[in-house]
């Protein structure tokens, strides 16, 4: 039951939700349980400001998870998303701060850089037949080093581009509905997720994502130029990573060249918690989004409860296992 089966005439949004919920009500239940649990445990948890803080904490990891979902559905993996995000941020810094270009060009630079890096990973995987783990591990290191080289190992600040920090911190929604000051970063996350879900479920590119992950050989034997599509998918994922780079740079109002390592694992974890299979062929964007939210709620909730940090880690580990276990059980019960 992939999310590709919805086709009754509905609005786009309800379609996506329907497609997702079909398999995803499950991880969603874990999310709800966590939210309720924390609300009971701490009166400070369920405040608008804290909910917004959680959403904002999800934004970067959520966008990375969306990107990596595409690659994982093809049966690959992308370890480079963390440092690629940083690299895109650094390039934006160079374009905006060092070269003094207009804001829009910076935005374009971030996305284009990501797409370029992604298509390189894709080429390694598709044309050179390098296992995705190694190809993207190599890219992860290369981009990590290049970020430091290009930035001169110091942060690049965006003080000269005043609009830049609004990308993530401003709130278009809040300007219209003052009661809901949802930052633009969160809005962008949802837009990215929505568009990617649409691409995944309603376009040829998405179809080949699932097909490649299902049985690459059979797709190839059907005369599809699998190499080209694979490169396109990695490039799309890279472009989305570029957006994550914009979000984090805007949030920190700077490109931090050393940041990024470790983010890949967190993004992959969100994807897997969301029910996407690491062996490819199955998965959903909504699931990854929920996976990322589960992780953010967990981290935030334990902090708000002032659990000692070493125990936070233990509890996070245990709850991740439990959430996925509950998910498995419900799925078994459902089938």
């Amino acid at each position: 039951m992939t999310t590709t089966t919805a086709n009754t005439p509905q609005t786009m949004l309800s379609r996506i939700i329907a497609a997702g919920t079909h398999q995803r009500v499950l991880a969603f239940a874990s999310l709800v349980v966590l939210l309720i649990g924390f609300s009971i445990a701490s009166p400070n948890f369920m405040q608008t400001s804290n909910m917004i803080a959680i959403l904002q904490a999800t934004s970067v990891n959520g966008v990375l998870a969306v990107a990596v979902t595409l690659v994982i559905i093809t049966g690959g993996i992308d370890l480079s998303v963390g440092t690629m995000m940083t690299f895109c941020a650094v390039i934006t810094g160079v374009v905006l701060t060092y070269a003094g270009m207009p804001l829009l060009l910076g935005v374009f630079a971030a996305i284009a850089t990501g797409a370029l890096c992604g298509s390189m990973s894709g080429t390694f995987v598709a044309k050179m037949k390098i296992p995705p783990f190694i190809a993207t591990l190599g890219m992860m290191l290369i981009l990590k080093g290049l970020s430091l080289v290009i930035s001169g190992t110091r942060p690049i600040y965006f003080n000269d581009t005043p609009g830049f920090s609004l990308i993530s911190r401003g709130s278009i929604i809040g300007d219209i509905f003052p009661a809901m000051p949802i930052p633009n970063g969160v809005l962008i996350l949802f837009i990215v997720a929505g568009v990617t879900a649409y691409i995944l479920n309603r376009t040829v590119l998405g179809r080949y994502c699932f097909a490649l992950g299902s049985n690459e050989e059979s797709v190839r034997l059907s005369g599809v130029n699998t190499d080209r599509w694979k490169i396109a998918i990695y490039a799309l994922a890279g472009g989305i990573v570029g957006i994550a780079g914009l979000l984090i740079a805007s949030r920190l109002n700077s490109a931090q060249p050393a940041l990024g390592l470790g983010y890949e694992l967190e993004a992959i974890a969100a994807v897997v918690i969301g029910g996407t299979s690491l062996s490819g062929g199955r998965g959903s964007i909504l699931g990854s989004l929920i996976g990322a939210l589960i992780m953010a709620v967990l981290t935030n909730g334990l902090r708000v409860l002032s659990v000692a940090q070493e125990w936070q880690t233990v509890v996070t580990g245990a709850i991740i296992i439990l959430a996925v276990y509950a998910d498995m059980m419900r799925r078994k019960g459902a089938s």
Binding site: A53, R251, L259, R303
Partner: protein
């Protein structure tokens, strides 16, 4: 209603941060306030620290202690705290803004310069030295590296710094780094490690390669380092006063809540210690293990 002061630090698991925490705990007990102490896994995770700050603010704290990984990135949240009338105390590194009521810190540049002076003295003002640093981009990493390098460059023309490499403050990785430096430079006479992990990495490397004639200067304390100094493997080390930093931060937070005037900087000081003074009461008070 209890008084709650969260401290958001730059790290958590390292000995240095645990010493800061113990100082803060001490002050918390003394002043009857409740504190929490949190920090990201490593000093690159700027945005994670911001998330921690956001979660801390959700609990309506009475004051906040904050050691900024990047002084700009946190300003919107610090502004939010300021708007809510929550005093902010910076510790370890400053925040480039007038929001913090005060900053409890060590002058890392001056401390590393002192290490350079001691190094020059011990190796007779000439020869090749190398630095094993803990981080290429964090404030403390940069300050200590540059403090050392600039002092050598400015005052000791006969000393050549042949290599600066980074071991992430991880003892094992720093060991491998130091071994590679020793292999590449057999005529090395001195090495400076910019934090506990780096310094112990150098000690391990010297021990494993049985190299002689290399003067080691370390940074921070910890049992392995004090042992190495007592044994004579390490010439000496700079120590900050992490317990003092933690203590002063909480103390200043309480004072700020009560509307007291605070100095712009609370310099908690640094010391050079070696075999000769390691057991002095003044030094013992700032060492941790």
């Amino acid at each position: 209603q209890d008084i709650y002061i969260p401290l958001i630090s730059k790290g958590f698991q390292h000995q240095f941060w645990q010493a800061v925490k113990s100082g803060a705990d001490q002050a918390a007990a003394e002043f009857g306030v409740r504190i929490t102490f949190e920090g990201p896994d490593n000093e690159t995770m700027v945005d994670r620290q911001i998330d921690m700050l956001a979660a801390a603010l959700a609990n309506n704290p009475s004051a906040i202690g904050f050691a900024a990984l990047d002084s700009q990135a946190a300003i919107p949240l610090l502004q939010q705290a300021a708007d809510a009338g929550i005093p902010v105390i910076a510790f370890d590194s400053g925040v480039e803004s007038d929001i913090p009521a005060t900053t409890a810190t060590t002058d890392n540049v001056a401390a590393a310069a002192l290490a350079a002076d001691k190094m020059a003295e011990l190796i007779g003002g000439a020869g090749k030295v190398a630095v094993v640093a803990h981080d290429q981009t964090s404030r403390t990493g940069i300050d200590r590296r540059d403090g050392f390098l600039n002092q050598i460059e400015a005052n000791y023309p006969d000393i050549e710094v042949v290599s600066v490499q980074y071991g992430a403050g991880d003892q094992l990785q720093s060991t491998e780094v130091a071994k590679a430096i020793l292999t590449a430079n057999p005529d090395l006479v001195g090495m400076f490690g910019t934090n506990e992990g780096s310094a112990i990495g150098i000690v391990n490397a010297i021990r494993e390669m049985a190299t002689e004639g290399v003067t080691i200067i370390g940074y921070d304390s910890g049992k392995a380092q004090t042992d190495a100094i007592r044994e004579g493997l390490m010439a000496g080390a700079i120590t900050q006063n992490p317990v003092g930093i933690g203590y002063e931060t909480v103390k200043a937070a309480v004072a700020a809540m009560n509307g007291e005037e605070l100095p712009a900087i609370i310099d908690t000081g640094f010391y050079y210690y070696d075999q000769s003074n390691i057991d002095d009461a003044e030094i013992q008070a700032v060492l941790y293990d």
